[in-house]
Symmetry: C3
């Protein structure tokens, strides 16, 4: 039996369009039977946040960061032409018209395809996020786990 090809993506960006690109490539690779990991770090973690407010104990700085960062994929903005959210709204409208998949649907598809969604433990801590705020089915791991996967892959992207 041939071993599965491994594909990894570090999702650093908190931009809607960049996260879309990451999840489209990841879902494509999974459809081609690659074993895919998306390692979410820094602002990319926001894509994994639950969209409802979660009651957790936080210090002042953690509260501040939690409040300023978007709560979930649907609240993220474009990397350019965002215009205070208007551009993002327009892109979502266009995605709908083209029967393409918006980001939250792409994330759901990734889960269905058993793409491994990982939250970088170190940056979860730095940004003051709590496990309860992260959606179900996400693993918490560090750079060592990422490198273990990436060292066996060929398509390893940083987005």
């Amino acid at each position: 039996m041939e071993e599965k090809q491994k594909t990894t993506i570090v999702l650093f960006s908190g931009d809607y369009d960049k996260a879309m690109a990451a999840y489209i490539i990841a879902n494509g690779a999974a459809a081609y039977d690659h074993e895919v990991t998306i390692f979410h770090t820094f602002w990319g973690l926001n894509a994994l946040r639950k969209d409802e407010p979660i009651k957790v104990q936080k210090n002042f700085m953690e509260k501040l960061f939690g409040w300023m960062m978007p709560r979930g994929a649907d609240r993220m903005g474009l990397s350019r032409m965002n215009f205070g959210g208007l551009g993002t709204k327009m892109i979502k409208e266009i995605i709908k018209k083209h029967n393409a998949m918006p980001l939250p649907a792409l994330i759901d598809l990734a889960k269905e395809q058993d793409i491994k969604l990982v939250a970088c433990q170190m940056t979860v801590d730095l940004l003051g996020l709590k496990e309860e705020e992260i959606m179900e089915g996400v693993e918490f791991a560090g750079v060592a786990a990422y490198l273990g996967d990436a060292a066996e892959g060929r398509v390893n992207l940083f987005i």
Copy 2:
């Protein structure tokens, strides 16, 4: 006969400097006899736009996006220190003084070196670009074609 090494770059960015980096790496790889593909998606598509206005049928949103996005590589701006275009102008001046290649020349060189320039069909549609607006010699393809190339490559970058 040894097979050629494959190198792929996803050019997502619409920034002049990032596109320069992408094309410098691509041209370098082609000079070392790699088989190189640049897959242009989202704002990276602007590097492939013809610089003259093209008469095409567009709806309101497509017109708006087409009007707001730079028409061709030479109109793109720096990712930082752009200062409303002044920084980009300065960098172009410096590039000239150093006899380095500006972005449009790097794209021409890529074509001469048979680098495969691909426009992501899905994002061409989302951003409302029409085939007539894209320069000659560009292929239109999807994430599957990209993954086919990348899965056989070692240097696979997302820029």
Copy 3:
């Protein structure tokens, strides 16, 4: 004897958080005995600048760029939520509280682990930086040297 796995990172970004991600991955890979190269180009070169002002002969444009770009890793800002430096200050505070490593310490660790730090000669020239302004132990090389390393690696990232 098995050959060492090669890992390369192109550090294009001049953002504190992106450079942190680059150096954390690089240091992790070195700890797993990979042979690691970080190729600094464009704004990523700022991470290699000495933090004290260096007396060098520069023309007007070189002075201007030199003056506008951050002098060393500690002066770089976040890619988002920078708020004129306040966000960066907060993150540094949090890093300290969590006993995590700030960027300058990550760079020192990289040197201790024999990670090859390279400054892209072409962009050093374009941005008007002088060799005397770059920290000790950094090599100057071009895209050919980068590709030589990357072509033998599997984890090749552009950050």
